[in-house]
Amino acid sequence: MSFLDVLYFIIPSAIFYASPLIFTAIGGVFSERSGVVNIGLEGLMVMGAFIGILFNLMFVDTFGSLTPWFALIAAMLVSGLFSVMHAVASISFRANQTISGVAINLLGVAIALFSVKMIYGKGQTDYIQERFIRFDIPLLSDIPIIGPMFFKDVYSTSILAVGVAVLAWFVIYKTPFGLRLRAVGEHPMAADTMGVNVTKMRYIAVILSGALAGIGGAVYAQSISGEFSHSTINGQGFMALAAMIFGKWHPLGALGAAIFFGFAQALSIVGGQIPYVDQVPPYFLHILPYVLTILAVAGFIGKANAPKASGIPYIKGKR
């Protein structure tokens, strides 16, 4: 395999492994930028994956080839709703946001598995018929060298993921909503004195994070695994959190980091077919994303500066 062949092989894999991470990481960016730590992204992804598969299996006859997309919407709505729990606990009840997040994780997994067993009588669902399909982007895939790398055999959800990341960047840095969001996460009291409703902003941000994590989970389930069981989502939510930190809470940074983690995941699965890489024991490839996360959080890979007010409940009138 030539070097180019390797790239043609690995980059598309990296991108589609990265897409679920991208959605979820962007969700994390919104939440944390507003000052609410959301460890529960894993549970929200699980919920999204479950709803995605469930919807797909139930309504495939109604929607045909468009089913996966409607499933995405369903997943988005349910996970968004689920995240309201975390929002209420963290914002209105001033609960410890980490513990609330852990509870959401456990709850998401429990509810999803409970429902699967209840509906299907076994520990995993059937395989879905309609998955997301891969296609070549016309014109762009004909560009020499980079064409086959980035624009061939692409999942539409991957394009959507990148689009969402870019849109998020735009919203956060170019719109009034984004300015206020960032202010609320850095200095809620200042925002309050300028008339910004801190509580409302934080609720919106957390629900957004739930919705996006739901999409991420549903994308993963419908493009990579094809069914739902206890091992469908296994740490991707935390990886997305890591991508967010690695990307310094910036949507485009998170995008890059997620692709990097997707790359690491892809390596661990298909690495055995690549010269040189097949010499590396798979163990190191498996733990690579996690070690990277620790290094990123510890600041060894650039300084990690969370939004200043992250994790601290805002109590109005406290001076």
Partner: protein
């Protein structure tokens, strides 16, 4: 009378504490009106009522003749009232423009029109002589420019009435001068200003009238041109008849604490102690008088090892303790009653008995081979509770449940029983009732009579005058003068604390200053 703001008979309570008691303040259009008072007098509270952050229990507020209810800052903004906060409300990693337009953004098709906004701000800044760089990040600009951004925030929202809360607290003398020019310019452009401050020089320089508050009560309003710093100082500190502490003469001996050329920066890197020299001898109580924010906290933290000093030296009992860890300082013979008893003095969730052991828990007989002898802790706790009259249900009561006074007595008991050669008491009677205050003063004098050195830091002038054998006045990070209590007066101290030097005042008034 053309009043733009009238605050009539304002009463503000926090629980049983009355912060503002029937205060009246009237702001004329186009004037700079100073609000003068000591720490804790109630100035900031009154202005927070005006700005809508607090609601008064009684009283009326009129804006331009109409009675209004200011329920939150948005309402205040709409009425044309803007506040330039003492602690800036600025998002550090936003630009100047972003901070100013936050909540009120200029948009074009949903996108923030940063360029237009920056232009507008540029115009505004030129109009009022407020030099700012609209594209600079807050974390990169000077404190002076940050303050101008705070001012621009109010002007951008169309404020006619500006409240400045202790605006010169963190400014250099040059920046203070610039600020005064800015305020005069604002008046010229038709604004009215309320200036909260304790600095007499600035009041004389820039204000038209002064309202004085003392301990929550309005003392009166005077016209600046018809008064002078002496009178203002005396109005500010008042002539309280607190009982004089009974004490004998001091017999100071050797130096216990020697501080040379000390420079200490705060957590932001700003110098708070700027080359300070101080000596405390055994057998005397040295009181440091000064208004909060002049470097006292940083000084104490540096001495006790809680903060690093940039330059200079600290010697205690002949030992160099500069930049040594807290335990080393303690073992050099220092006892410390910390300024913030809840942060540094006590572990509130520990029983009071365990707190009493905080400094000695690791020593024999309390600790042997890694095992705690809680029996000995109990002994020590009971002894101190009895001796120092700590009112508590028992030594097992969590420290949190004790009143401030009793918490403080426990801390003093703990420190004094260790027999330190140097006892540092920082704001020891803050928030305490008269009985506890008297008790604590007695204990400090007792230490001094035993031949120990006592360093007393206080914001209460009468406390400093009653208790100290010598008084050192701190202003702007340096000791500006050291006096004997019987050779000075509260007025003189008030002047020194507010930055007025004796000789300067002579020059200004052109007459001899009588010292009572």
């Amino acid at each position: 009378m053309d009043y733009v703001i009238e605050m009539l008979g304002i009463r503000k309570e926090f629980g049983s504490f009355v912060a503002n008691d029937n205060i009246t303040l009237q702001l004329k259009k186009g004037e700079i009106h100073a609000l003068l008072g000591e720490n804790g007098a109630g100035k900031s509270t009154l202005m927070n009522v005006l700005f809508g952050l607090y609601q008064p229990e009684a009283g009326e507020i009129k804006v331009k003749g109409k009675t209004v209810q200011i329920t939150d800052p948005n309402v205040a903004n709409k009425l044309g009232i803007g506040m330039v906060h003492q602690h800036f409300m600025l998002v550090e990693n936003f630009t100047v423009t972003e901070n100013i337009i936050l909540g009120n953004e200029l948009t074009k098709a949903g996108i923030i029109n940063i360029k237009e906004a920056a232009k507008k701000i540029q115009k505004l800044s030129e109009m009022y002589g407020l030099d700012v760089d609209p594209n600079a990040k807050i974390e990169d600009i000077s404190v002076g420019m940050q303050q101008r951004v705070e001012i621009l925030k109010t002007l951008y929202r169309g404020a006619d009435i500006l409240i400045f809360d202790e605006p010169t607290a963190s400014l250099t003398p040059q920046e203070i001068h610039e600020l005064i020019q800015i305020m005069k310019r604002l008046i010229k452009e038709g604004k009215s200003i309320i200036l909260i401050t304790h600095k007499l020089k600035e009041i004389m320089d820039v204000s038209d009238r002064v309202t004085v508050i003392r301990k929550g009560e309005g003392i009166g309003t005077v016209i600046t041109a018809e008064t002078n710093p002496n009178e203002l100082a005396s109005l500010m500190v008042g002539r309280q008849v607190e009982f004089k502490t009974i004490k004998g003469e001091a017999n100071p001996t050797v130096d216990a604490l020697i501080i040379k050329d000390l420079v200490v920066t705060d957590y932001r890197g700003i110098e708070k102690v700027k080359g300070l020299n101080l000596t405390v001898r055994k057998g005397e109580i040295l009181g440091i008088a000064g208004i909060d924010g002049n470097g006292q906290s940083e000084l104490i933290e540096a001495i006790t090892g809680l903060r690093k000093s940039k330059k200079g030296s600290i010697t205690i009992n002949g030992q160099d303790v500069t930049n040594k860890k807290p335990r080393k300082v303690t073992e050099a013979g220092v006892g410390h009653i910390p300024q913030d008893r809840h942060k540094h003095g006590l572990v509130l969730d520990f029983p009071i008995g365990h707190n009493i052991a905080l400094q000695t828990y690791y020593l024999d007989p309390i600790s042997k081979n890694g095992i705690m002898n809680y029996g000995k802790v109990s002994e020590l706790a009971q002894k101190i509770i009895k001796e120092f009259d700590v009112r508590t249900q028992g030594e097992h009561t969590p420290a949190r449940a004790l009143s401030g006074g009793n918490q403080q007595k426990a801390i003093i008991g703990r420190e004094v029983t260790r027999n330190p050669e140097l006892l540092i008491a920082a704001l020891p009677t803050r928030g305490l009732d008269v009985g506890a205050i008297e008790f604590i003063h007695q204990r400090l004098i007792e230490q001094r009579d035993k031949g120990k050195a006592v360093l007393l830091l206080s914001f209460e002038l009468d406390e400093v005058m009653n208790v100290s054998d010598r008084i050192a006045v701190i202003y702007d990070g340096q000791i500006v003068d050291t006096l004997l209590p019987k050779e000075t007066s509260e007025q003189e101290l008030g002047l020194l604390m507010a930055g007025q030097r004796k000789n300067e005042n002579d020059k200004k008034q052109g007459e001899t200053v009588h010292v009572e």
